[in-house]
Symmetry: D2
Subunit: 262 residues, 4 copies
């Protein structure tokens, strides 16, 4: 299998995680470790505001090994998201990642469903690409939007499986399948994955990577769940490469009825 | 997590595999190895008849490490299945497993859908239990049948996810869930699992173990698929123990909208 | 389309209903009427015991138009069910249905999941067939059990879509499809149908009829729901006969892109 | 139930159909009749180009009873769609519908998946609304896009259930549910409905109407399927108004176990 490459940078893990919703920073650290992830997304506005659990992020993770993916959570407009993206770039530099131009772009005007705005997202993406960012936009699973974002130079697209934090699993399969078939950039499934089987499922479909946060942080045993997600992501990708058995409408014996008893 | 215990015997792996449908014996060996399984089911009648790929089974696997699970594939009646169960016990003894009384009981009169007969299965199970066998009956996912088989002393029940070799995944969830809730013996899902995500799914529901054969043997790359199934089984079990996040109908932000930008 | 024929008796409606769970007898009457059904199942033991809503069943429905289907609800063993079947036959005679030998056979030992016992059901079915009953057994969706019941002379099989009163819809599709393909007697889906779309779905698969009770009686507006079930059953059957369009993995324009604009 | 009102015009039927893909014009006429529909969509470009089956559309249907919904199928850009919308308005006038300003807006740049472009659609919608059109835009099931189209003054939104002509049924349920919850204008499900059960399903969710073409035209018996769709749409709407029974994870007896036998 070839490794995951985003904006020229090579990653061996295909599972990304986040820092939100954990009970304490030690638990977050353990989970990042168990997940085997190399990319951790961080809400820039939470860090700027010293939200509990984010005061000591600089020390909390080993930023020589973990690639920071600043995100624009909390931004309702393209303008806000662009400003926060620049803040995120500064933050990455302060942590020693001089060449980190990544931004997970979230433009979410609605606070009930937390669904991304396709118009604000495209607008912000175009501008950020011109400013030299590697843009990873969070989107609903619309293949036409995904293609447009690819055309304006985004580094990946990040379609949702189901609404953020809902844990409802893959509810957008038919659109996601088309996005994967058409994309020339990596497809990273973001939001909605609630269990390892769902993580494996999106990888088996041919997603290049996935991002999981709530499903780990809200488990009764987050580090165990982080490790389970790690294994499931690897398993799903391996199965995609290995090729699935054909489905049959009827049965076919594993132990055919050859031979008789005498 | 506690280990899997069947008829007093302890197993650390929760994935079982088979020996059928492989292109060659070397591939089968690799897959057994990669799957991490400790139990391999063998069709007694195929061995008796020297079906290709089964001539040298004695040498093919390391029977000091792998526990043989003789199965009665190809038997249409309780009588046939009972006879084959005894042959299987002899076979296990010849391989050095003196105390192996296991039998995977299959009573399958129909050759199109290969679905098990509940009446023949119960009849054979009762007799085999009396003869000292540890009986693991293959059944459709009927909770009342599962309970009856438990009552007559079976060591496990092995309900199907979907018809053998169909690779259609978990199509019997509602009945399987009830079987799991009620069982005091291990529930081993057998037949129909086509991909690692499906393997993880049945483990997340609380199945104690699962058996996969076609999905590995018929992949384009069986050893890779065997390893993927291994990881997915572990991931699914681990997630079951860790506890799944609650599902929500609406979204919930991983990175809540605290803070403002000025 | 050919009409529904059960035990030589012809019915133009393919929807059956029941008398349980209604708020009052007037509502039940309205619903039976709106549903267009010709067969109504009645719990013999409720009538025997004058359970509220069942005191005046003789007058409540027009038994010259409605065919009574006595059922053995509340019976835990074959013996009980056989006794209740005979009581039901008497009841039908008292209502003027001299030639009514129908019995909806329910043998349900468990009070939590209310799932039928395949062994008690087969035993009772065999005996009742010999006693001249037209036996309509309620079963889990096990194709081998369905075939055996057909072989012993049952008039139909009545597999469940999901557990009684759960309203979870069609959860047994893969087994139900096989039952339908193999049956030479009518297949009547019983239990679990919660909405008209689910009623239409089982008819589109080729079921010969279906029975709905809770989904009507527990609606906020039972008569409207009864009528909706009536329409949906007709729609589903009609679609089955008309033939469904082929599914495609990709899109195909209803209004193809012929022509250009100049 | 209140009737369907679109742009101030009242319709008693909630099923819309089209004119494409029929074997002959007589079959189309029969199906429009059997479907009970009051709105028929017509591809303006097919009429302009005398595509077979569209030469005599003026005479083919009774335009005093059927409301024409001109559509912009075949348009890849906002500009093309706007031009075709004006042609459609002329066409409606020629048929005697002086006050018909309706247009089903389709902007579909891609010819493989036939998915609508959210950007071109919004652009065209804004301009057409200003020109006095009642705009019914065909969209992927993106709630944020649907809201935006409502805000710019569209008369309805027409989200897809699955790609046009695929007959894959409701694959976008989670997004569709949110669109319905949020919309102040009618939600008309368009594309992907393959069977009456699927038609009923989207109506039960609370859709205000639906449009079906391929599923009728490509059936082996289109008029029968048209009638089945008619019934199913009514059934689904009626069930939505009546209120669905609650779902239960466990069973609940229709005929409770009261009473004993002596």
């Amino acid at each position: 299998d070839t490794p995951l490459v985003i904006a020229g940078k090579v990653f061996s893990s295909r599972l990304m995680t986040g820092t939100g919703k954990y009970r304490c920073i030690e638990e977050m650290q353990k989970c990042v470790n168990k997940s085997g992830c190399q990319i951790v997304t961080v809400a820039v506005r939470r860090v700027q505001n010293n939200v509990p659990g984010h005061e000591s992020l600089a020390e909390a993770l080993d930023w020589e090994k973990i690639w920071m993916l600043p995100n624009t959570a909390g931004c309702k407009t393209a303008e806000e998201a662009i400003r926060v993206a620049f803040l995120g770039r500064e933050m990455a530099k302060l942590l020693g990642q001089e060449d980190n131009n990544f931004v997970k772009l979230e433009v979410i005007p609605d606070s009930k469903y937390l669904l991304p705005d396709p118009f604000g997202t495209l607008e912000a993406a175009e501008k950020l690409v011109k400013e030299g960012f590697a843009v990873l936009p969070y989107i609903n699973a619309d293949p036409m939007l995904a293609k447009r974002l690819e055309e304006v130079g985004c580094a990946t697209v990040m379609p949702l499986a189901s609404p953020i934090g809902s844990g409802q699993g893959l509810q957008t399969a038919i659109n996601l399948q088309i996005i994967i078939e058409n994309a020339k950039i990596p497809v990273v499934v973001d939001a909605g994955i609630g269990s390892p089987s769902e993580a494996a499922q999106v990888m088996e479909m041919g997603s290049d990577a996935l991002l999981v946060n709530s499903a780990i942080a809200l488990s009764d045993n987050p580090p165990a769940m982080a490790y389970a997600m790690n294994l499931a992501t690897v398993a799903g990708r391996m199965a995609y490469s290995a090729g699935r058995m054909p489905m049959r409408s009827y049965a076919s014996a594993s132990s055919p009825l050859t031979g008789t008893i005498d």
